[in-house]
Amino acid sequence: MKIEFAPLEGKSPQFYLFMLVLFGVAGAGLFATYLMYTQGLHITGMSNRVPWGISIVMLIYYIGLSAGSLVLSAMSALFGRKEFKPFARIAALLAMLLLVGALLSMILDWGKPDRVFVPFMYFNFVSMFSINGILYSTYIVICFVYLLAMFAGKEKLVGVIALIAVIWAIGVHSGTGAIFGFVSRELYESPLLPPSFITAALSSGTALMIILLQLLFRYTERPFDQRYVKELSRLLAVFILVVAYFLFVENAFRAYNIGHREAAWFFLFGGSHSMVFWVGLIGMGIVVPALILFTPGTKNSIKMINVAAILHVIGVLCERYIIVIPGQLHPTDILPNMNVESVALDGAIVSYSISFLEVVQALGVAAIVAIVFMLGLRVFAMLPTEALMEDEAS
């Protein structure tokens, strides 16, 4: 089967309206960043006790989402699933752009984003941020070369680069988990975080692809075989179970280990973040999607699969919030078994409320990613004219 690729037509009023909205949101996001840059980060919800806010949540969320794209893209080249070849190009493009979104979230979050070249001049090879900076930017280059090879039609080269990209992705995702897992804070420190980060990355990324592929083909009015959705949903179902398993082990360890018990209790039942955990992650992100994807009555319904995918994409955003925020709200134990009280809020449980500006900034970065993605589809032949599975019988 020969796959034809064609750029988006992109001449409909809807397309222009959509782009206009995206440019508006991106502009608002950049303006929010400008305000933070000129006035200081005190206009956000962050503080000395909660120095990392939504930008860091979004950073690791983007990194995670890119995993699904890469897996989908490498399916045909590496795992011999030729029926997924039509999506290899858009998936690689998205994997690359999500990484750009992650880097953008990271840099715009700095107190001094104008010092963007400083990390290139002074590396610290033991800093997880330095290591990840290198991993992310090289990953972007790998994805770019991968795309070029696909456009050049060099099948063998595509296979080799796909392999490199998958190996590199393991580094990218592990490194992102290690930003938190390798720091000695009661709710961060965990060697399990890198692998559990990879699994949530795979699950959320797959869920995103399920939704995005359907949207793209529907709005371009190109034929799309619904069986792709079912195939991907089988993958998603397995990934979700692995995510749940990792979550269980991590929390069971904290609850069992006497030294971590108090922090575990705070994490699970200690405030509004616990709602994000139970309702957002466990309920919406895991239980409901798993029920949908494993119940015989619903697992073949495209509508229900879409519900599961959307819920899981939101659920993993909650998971990323849960990784970043509660570990900061809970105080570090300066003097174990002692109450410590000071003007610097030592020993106190603090709160963090998401500020409007941080949300606008995060949406702005998302809009920038979407703009470049849409322009990519518009200018280059990324999207196949049709995506139909060949019937095995015929």
């Binding site: 840059y37 006035q39 200081g40 980060l41 005190h42 962050m46 503080s47 000395n48 006790r49 120095p51 990392w52 990271m106 979050d109 700095w110 107190g111 001094k112 984003p113 010092r115 963007v116 400083v118 990390p119 001049m121 002074y122 590396f123 610290n124 033991v126 800093s127 997880m128 941020f129 330095s130 900076g133 930003i179 720091v183 000695s184 804070r185 961060y188 900061q328 105080p331 570090t332 134990d333 300066i334 003097l335 174990p336 078994n337 002692m338 109450n339 410590v340 009280e341 000071s342 003007v343 610097a344 809020l345 030592d346 603090v350």
Partner: protein, 248 residues
């Protein structure tokens, strides 16, 4: 054939010329490198600054050390506990039992021998000087706030807001967007003085702080650390703090 040989020769000569230039330019620079490594800072590199705080002598309600630090280093106070910056602060400490008596002690950067803040800093803006002081290059800091996350003592602070209260005109104020913490008044040590908090505690407070060179076994601070039962904060983390407490 002849052409190939020519090319090889050309490469040879070119390589020799390049190497020669490198050595020629490099050799005179060598003493400079040695100077920066050993010469210039030799008078300080042998030192390892440290502090002992006798909690029993620290007066409840006294803030002499805190006030002196603010004045000396222009440490910003914005009137919002979430973003106020403290290089040193008084803490009320009590055991988690009923009717525990409360003691008062200053908390400040521990100047760890293995500082987690410097470990995670992506641009090496936070580093440990040869004399053991952990310090931030505010002109290099990108403001990623990883050091605030990594410090297990909550001693790292970030400039969420610019500060222009200029108590001490010989010391700079700072712009927003960079992190900082106590630096043992490095600028005063360089002039042969003691840190502002130690001086103030001796003059106006209870004289609870002793500061000096831990490498010099005849210094008071080294003697106290060697002879009395001192402890540092969270020694189990392996950070090796250089601020010790008696009676905590």
């Amino acid at each position: 054939m002849k052409k190939q040989l020519d090319r090889r020769e050309f490469v040879k000569i070119g390589g020799l010329v390049t190497a020669g230039t490198a050595v020629g330019v490099g050799l005179p620079l060598l003493p400079l490198y040695r100077a920066s490594a050993t010469g210039e800072v030799a008078d300080r590199s042998g030192k390892r600054w440290g502090m002992v705080i006798n909690v029993g002598k620290c007066k409840d309600g006294c803030t002499a050390c805190v006030d002196a630090c603010r004045k000396e280093n222009n440490v910003p106070l914005h009137g919002d506990p979430k973003i106020d910056i403290h290089w040193i602060r008084k803490a009320k400490i009590s055991r988690r039992v009923e009717n525990a008596s409360e003691i008062s002690a200053p908390l400040l950067c521990n100047h760890c021998d293995d500082p987690p803040c410097a470990l995670v800093c992506p641009v090496q803006a936070t580093y440990k000087r040869k004399d053991g002081i952990v310090i931030v290059d505010k002109h290099r800091c990108i403001g990623c706030r990883y050091c605030l996350i990594a410090c297990p003592y909550n001693m790292r602070m970030f400039n969420f807001k610019s500060n222009h209260e200029w108590h001490n005109e010989t010391y700079p104020t700072r712009a927003h967007g960079v992190s900082e913490s106590c630096q043992f008044c490095a600028h005063r040590l360089d002039q042969g003085m003691q840190p502002a908090c130690v001086e103030a505690c001796k003059k106006e407070g209870g004289g609870a702080m002793v500061f000096g060179d831990l490498n010099d076994s005849s210094s008071k601070v080294a003697k106290v650390v060697a002879s009395r039962s001192v402890r540092a904060l969270r020694e189990d983390l392996g950070t090796n703090p250089k601020v010790f407490y008696i009676g905590l």
